[in-house]
């Protein structure tokens, strides 16, 4: 199913933002908040893993039911998971389309990667593993 992916700040993202290699930060920024009807349609329960495919690749996140978003829209806290699939084009403003990406979402059995794994996939080297 196709969704509009919005990214933004949450309290938990802010609380863990100075500790980006923690499991709590990874858990928060790999959460995809969805309308429960959309989850029903995809056969998802809270905490089930999903593959989110954007213009630049795919990433595994966990679905979480939210009363804040409308059907057809998903919300992901700012962080390395959402940015793994966000395109770098800025339409000559310097600002990528962080809040207007179309993504495909499907259930998966894979587990979300850690922040370290995401960074190493892109050529980095984890420090405090």
């Amino acid at each position: 199913m196709t969704f509009l992916m919005i990214t933004g700040r949450t309290v938990n993202q802010g609380v863990t933002v100075e500790n980006k290699t923690s499991a709590e930060y990874a858990a928060e920024t790999s959460t995809c908040f969805m309308h429960e009807f959309d989850m029903l349609e995809l056969g998802l329960d809270d905490g089930d893993t999903i593959r989110v495919t954007g213009p630049c690749g795919e990433v595994v996140m966990r679905a979480s039911a939210s009363v804040e978003v409308e059907t057809g829209t998903v919300f992901v806290p700012y962080g390395p998971y959402a940015n793994h699939i966000v395109a770098a084009g800025t339409r000559s403003t310097g600002m990528p389309d962080f809040k207007s990406h179309e993504v495909e979402i499907e259930p998966t059995d894979e587990e979300p990667k850690t922040v370290h794994e995401l960074m190493e996939d892109l050529g980095g080297l984890a420090y405090d593993r």
């Binding site: 933004g8 290699t21 829209t73 962080g79 403003t93 809040k99 207007s100 960074m119 190493e120």
Partner: protein
């Protein structure tokens, strides 16, 4: 020891009423701060000493070695990028600008991925803003548009708007109306008097519709605009026109969506329109505690607020070309100095792929996502905790942050000044 009136170095609210209890050079309790601020003050797990990537492992190095590495890296680069700056104090930002000029590099701050578009709009039509104190004491109508302060600026509501006392308001809680405009029914929307839910990407149309209604052209408005009914639009326009003093606070819901700076321009023009009927102001909800300062410092030193390119020997500014995301995505820079931010967590992956290919030095107290792409990371003191310095609040008021405890860490300014001195020395030789 209890330090009173400490300044919180988390968000643009820069709350200056924090009490911090320190025992044995550790923060043990924080009073008055929100959850975000408290966690920052209590933060542990700092990096202990500078580190260098040596093949597939990390090894510890001295500050002198790390500073020399960074100076050599910047001097030998053809097009270095100096990025970040919003998580540090103004004095360090000043040194950063000097360094960029010295090596003819590009200096950009995190506003290019937060309120950069707001600044582009302000450059087009101006900024009818005011300080937070004016809003607190006078505003009887506050509009949060595309921003969610309960999550991002938790004390904005209690210090300045919904739950704040106002000198010129008899009963502020009753007399002050709050409108929230968002595509999500956020926590902030739940405490609003009026929630306007618009369809994603519909901000520009809704702002235009409100402008038309304020101009008396309600007949031209269709039954719904981006999911908002005409009745609600008329009600909101009337609330605005009938307010004695209105304040709009907008967030990244306007800057990161389709239209970007044109959304902000339209919002500013709505405020101008409303000011023909009553008093109205508009301001951005700035994120990092000193992102406003990075714009101020860059502007008074270079003439431009972000994305400044010194490759021509003079300051050149062209957002979309001289901004960090674009420079990294085009694989243009050949070295990067990162200070007070974490681009690996907040930039699109294409930018990170280039960071992995070039030498990177980062100044940050903690290991973060960008650490993985560093050749060298230099741990520094945290401004507002173990270093002091000037920061600009989201309304442009400079506030001196305080040092609440002593550590052996050098401040950003000290490390950068050493780097800058080494670079100057090498260039004079």
């Amino acid at each position: 020891m209890i330090v009173k009136d400490a300044v919180c170095p988390f968000c643009g609210c820069l709350c200056d009423d924090i009490e911090v209890e320190v025992e044995d050079d550790r923060v043990v309790a924080v009073t008055n701060a929100c959850e975000l601020g408290t966690t920052k003050f209590m933060g542990e797990k700092r990096m202990k000493n500078p580190i260098l990537r040596d093949g597939d492992r990390w090894r510890d190095i001295t500050y002198d070695e790390a500073v020399q590495y960074a100076a050599d890296m910047l001097l030998s680069a053809e097009r270095p990028l100096l990025y970040g700056w919003s998580g540090t104090h103004g004095e360090a930002q000043c040194v950063g600008v000097h360094m960029a000029e010295l090596v003819r590099g590009v200096i950009d701050n995190t506003s290019s991925v937060c309120h950069g578009p707001s600044i582009l709009a302000i450059q087009e039509v101006g900024h009818p803003g005011c300080t937070l104190g004016v809003v607190k004491n006078r505003a009887d109508l506050v509009i949060y548009w595309g921003s969610n302060p309960i999550d991002a600026h938790p004390r904005h509501l209690s210090r300045y708007t919904r739950y704040a006392e106002g000198f010129f308001l008899e009963n502020a809680f009753r007399d002050r109306k709050v409108i929230v405009v968002d595509i999500r029914k956020t926590e902030t929307a739940n405490i609003a008097d009026e929630f306007v839910r618009i369809k994603p990407g519909g901000d520009y149309a809704v702002l235009s519709a409100l402008r038309a209604i304020v101009q008396g052209k309600t007949d031209t408005i269709p039954r719904t605009v981006a999911g908002v009914t005409r009745e609600q639009l008329v009600r909101v326009a009337n609330l605005c026109k009938n307010a004695k003093f209105g304040a709009v606070y907008f967030g990244l819901g306007l800057t990161m969506t389709r239209g970007k700076y044109k959304n902000i321009r339209n919002a500013i023009e709505l405020v101008s329109e409303l000011s023909r009927h009553t008093k109205f102001t508009i301001s951005a909800m700035r994120g990092h505690y000193n992102v406003y300062g990075s714009n101020e410092v860059n502007t008074w030193m270079t003439g431009y607020p972000f994305g400044i390119d010194y490759s021509r020997g003079i300051a050149f500014y062209n957002p979309g070309e001289t901004t960090a995301v674009d420079i990294l995505a085009r694989k243009e820079c050949d070295a990067a100095l990162i200070v007070g931010s974490d681009p690996a967590a907040h930039f699109p992956r294409k930018c990170l792929e280039h960071l992995a290919d070039i030498p990177v030095v980062q100044l940050d107290p903690y290991p973060n996502a960008t650490t993985a792409f560093c050749n060298v990371q230099i741990p520094v003191a945290v401004t507002g905790i173990d270093a002091e310095g000037t920061a600009y609040r989201m309304d442009g008021v400079p506030i001196r942050t305080r040092k609440v405890l002593s550590t052996d860490y050098l401040s950003d300014r000290e490390v950068l000044s050493r780097m800058c001195a080494l670079m100057q020395e090498a260039l004079e030789r």
